[in-house]
């Protein structure tokens, strides 16, 4: 199967990354923000795998596994905070969380 050039992989991951980022910025519901965080991390994973395959090294894949564990840990803590927010503010809308100013 023909060799996929590196730039395509990187551009794909950047696009995926930007989609995730826009998701974080635009979405109002906290759950979907966490989800778009996941998208961003997976985009990074794609980039790592692509780079690893170019250099014929396992580093890319190892890094991707580390990224996966990171994503899992983050989401766990994120969901815990989500539950606390639901109990405290009765809503998941992120804009409730802007009391601190100045």
């Amino acid at each position: 199967m023909t060799e996929i050039p590196l730039t395509h992989v990187l551009i794909l991951s950047s696009l995926l990354f930007i989609i995730g980022f826009v998701g974080v910025v635009v979405r109002k519901n906290t759950l979907f923000m966490l989800m778009s965080l996941e998208v961003m991390l997976n985009a990074v994973g794609v980039a790592f795998i692509g780079a690893g395959s170019v250099w014929q090294e396992a580093d890319g894949q190892i890094m991707f596994m580390l990224v996966l564990t990171l994503a899992a840990a983050e989401i766990a803590v994120g969901l815990a905070l989500l539950i606390r927010m639901q109990r405290r503010y009765r809503t998941l809308n992120i804009d409730v969380l802007n009391q601190m100013k100045g």
Binding site: F21, V24, V25, I94, D95, N98, Q99
Partner: protein, 626 residues
């Protein structure tokens, strides 16, 4: 401690005693201390003068200590007595002693009498230092000391606002003159590298760079130095540009006016020009300016004196015109005539002021001549003394005034730096002098008594023998002072700028000069008939616009206040809280504005923070790559 060095010590000692003991001294003690010190100074100066005449080198010097040194030139506190300063110390201590005597009686009722006598003594010290100084810096010390004492004495009754303002005006106007003089000193040091008076006079003639115009400068250093010294003299002697302070200085007690504003301080300017003749001779144009200045002040003061209704202001304007004469003489190069007139003027002007003081005291501080009248009968002694003074002022033949004024007028016509036009000025001035003197005499002493009947006139001169003696001595001096021929010509270098051929003076000169005073008297006899005859219709000062204009010094006051004082105050008030401060506070305000903008960016909304993260990243990439 030579005698000359001790001369200023006597009044200085009495000043220190009076100041330190102040209120505790009784009137008798205080007057004894101050008048005694003046007597000692007078006696000491007389002794010095005849010691001078007997000594061969015609100069006595006394070196105290070295004040400081400017580069190589030594500036030391040392005195230098020659014929010119001999005349001056005689005048200062002699007339000063008599005035102190009068002041002791005149100011008897004042509660801080000791402070007054202390200031008078301090003034004499400063004047002596000025006159005896052998270098210009010590002269400047005396000069400023005299200015400060005149400030203190004019503002002696500092409770009234007018006296305070008059004192401040006197000090600041003279200070402007002093600053010009200081700049002159700097220039002299720069070009002649010495501030010792004798050296300067001698060097001025020899150093070429001083007298010739350097390549691009319009005038030579000598021109500028002389002009600046003239500025100082004009400030102190109340001549044309800076003469507005003298009439207001009459706010001080009468002995002050007599001592400072007649006999001594105002003549300091004349002394300076006479002393620095070496420099002035090197700048003929400046001598011409001096002459013209003297002439114009002469006329202005004469005209102003005509319109005054306060006896002391008339005398003040007459002093101003007489100094104009002296300036005229110096400008014309007749140095000894100028100094001679200075001496005689000191005598009769002091006499006039003191008698005026006695009259004012008699009428319980009434100074307006339109409120006096008919005093010849009530105060005969003051009247005669006043008449003697006026006679000398008008320069009737035989009086000392006649000798000195004739000497000046005679030298005007043929002097290179003055000329016929100035001669006519002098003659017109003499005419004006006689007219306003007669007007003053008629208003004050002849005509109907215009003061309230019940006024009890306390004639001090009758009651106090000492005072009468002093005034008689002064009268004698002013009458026969002229006979004392003081030849100072040896002192002034005979260098005559031969640039202009001296036109020979026509023969009718003397006749006109002698006749003018009589013409003046006859004219005023008829013109002021209303003032001198006893009529019962009321007599008040006329308030026509022209007369009022002359009364307050031909509008110079309003001119200066609109040109200088108001703009200065306006600019000061305008920028009251410091333009530079505003600019720097602007920076602080700018930072605070930025703080408010940035604190809006801290809106606290999480989505904005994330967006800001991305935005700033994109921003950074663009900025870096561009």
């Amino acid at each position: 401690m030579s005698l000359l060095a001790s001369l200023p010590l006597y009044p200085l000692l009495s000043f220190l005693i009076l100041i330190s003991f102040g209120k505790r001294l009784s009137w008798v003690m205080a007057s004894w201390v101050s008048v005694g010190a003046m007597g000692a100074a007078a006696f000491c100066s007389m002794f010095l003068v005849n010691q001078l005449s007997t000594s061969d080198t015609s100069v006595i010097t006394a070196h105290m200590w070295q004040w400081f040194s400017i580069g190589s030139a030594k500036v030391n506190v040392s005195f230098y007595l020659d014929a010119l300063s001999a005349v001056m110390i005689l005048v200062v201590t002699g007339v000063g002693f008599l005035i102190h005597l009068f002041a002791a009686i005149y100011m008897k009722s004042d509660e801080n009498f000791t402070r007054f006598m202390a200031y008078m003594n301090l003034f004499i010290v400063a004047m002596l230092v000025l006159v005896l100084a052998d270098n210009l810096v010590l002269l400047y010390l005396g000069w400023e000391g005299v200015g400060l004492c005149s400030f203190l004495l004019i503002g002696f009754w500092y409770q009234e606002k007018s006296n305070v303002l008059a004192a401040r005006k006197a000090f600041i106007v003279t200070r402007i003159g002093d600053t010009a003089m200081v700049i002159g000193l700097f220039l002299l040091f720069k070009s002649l590298a010495s501030l010792n008076i004798a050296e300067i006079n001698q060097l001025a003639q020899t150093t070429i760079s001083f007298t010739s115009n350097s390549m691009n400068a319009a005038h030579s250093d000598a021109y500028w130095a002389a002009l600046l010294l003239l500025g100082g003299a004009v400030g102190k002697s109340a001549q044309l540009p800076l003469q507005t302070w003298l009439p207001d200085a009459m706010a001080g007690p009468t002995p002050v006016s007599a001592l400072i504003h007649a006999a001594t301080m105002v003549t300091a300017g004349v002394y300076l020009i006479a002393r620095m003749n070496g420099v002035f001779l090197m700048a003929p144009e400046v001598m011409n300016y001096v002459a013209w200045l003297g002439g114009i002040t002469l006329l202005i003061a004469g005209v102003a004196a005509l319109a005054q209704n306060d006896i002391k202001r008339v005398l003040a304007y007459s002093t101003m015109s007489q100094i104009g004469y002296m300036m005229l003489a110096l400008g014309a190069g007749a140095w000894s005539a100028g100094v001679f007139h200075l001496m005689t003027h000191a005598f009769f002007k002091a006499l006039l002021f003191l008698t005026a003081g006695a009259v004012i005291l008699a009428l319980h501080h009434q100074q307006d001549i339109f409120k006096m009248g008919g005093l010849l009968k009530r105060l005969p002694v003051e009247a005669t003394l006043f008449l003697v003074g006026l006679a000398c002022l008008i320069a009737l033949p035989g009086t000392s005034g006649f000798f000195s004024k004739e000497a000046i007028i005679a030298s005007l016509w043929s002097s290179p730096t003055a000329g016929p036009s100035l001669w006519w000025c002098a003659i017109l001035g003499a005419l004006l002098t006689s007219i306003y003197s007669c007007r003053l005499f008629f208003l004050a002493f002849l005509g109907k008594a215009r003061f309230p009947e019940n006024l009890v006139i306390s004639d001090h001169i009758e009651t106090n023998k000492l005072l009468r003696g002093a005034l008689f001595i002064l009268a004698l001096l002013s009458l026969f002072g002229g006979l004392v021929t003081v030849d100072l010509s040896s002192l002034f270098s005979s260098y005559k700028p031969s640039v202009v051929s001296s036109i020979d003076s026509p023969s009718w000169l003397h006749i006109v000069a002698i006749a003018t005073p009589f013409i003046g008297i006859i004219f005023s006899w008829f013109y002021y008939r209303r003032y001198r005859i006893v009529t019962d219709e009321p007599l008040t000062a006329s308030h026509s616009a022209w007369i009022v204009f002359c009364r307050n010094g031909l509008g110079f006051d309003t001119l200066y206040s609109t040109l200088l004082i108001k703009p200065y105050c306006f600019v000061a008030k305008l920028n009251k809280n410091d333009l530079f401060d505003q600019i720097l506070m602007l920076i602080a305000w700018y930072v605070r504005i930025w703080r408010d903008i940035l604190s809006v960016s801290q809106s606290g909304s999480l989505r904005w923070f994330a967006a800001a993260f991305g935005l700033s990243l994109v921003g950074l990439i663009c900025v870096v790559t561009l």
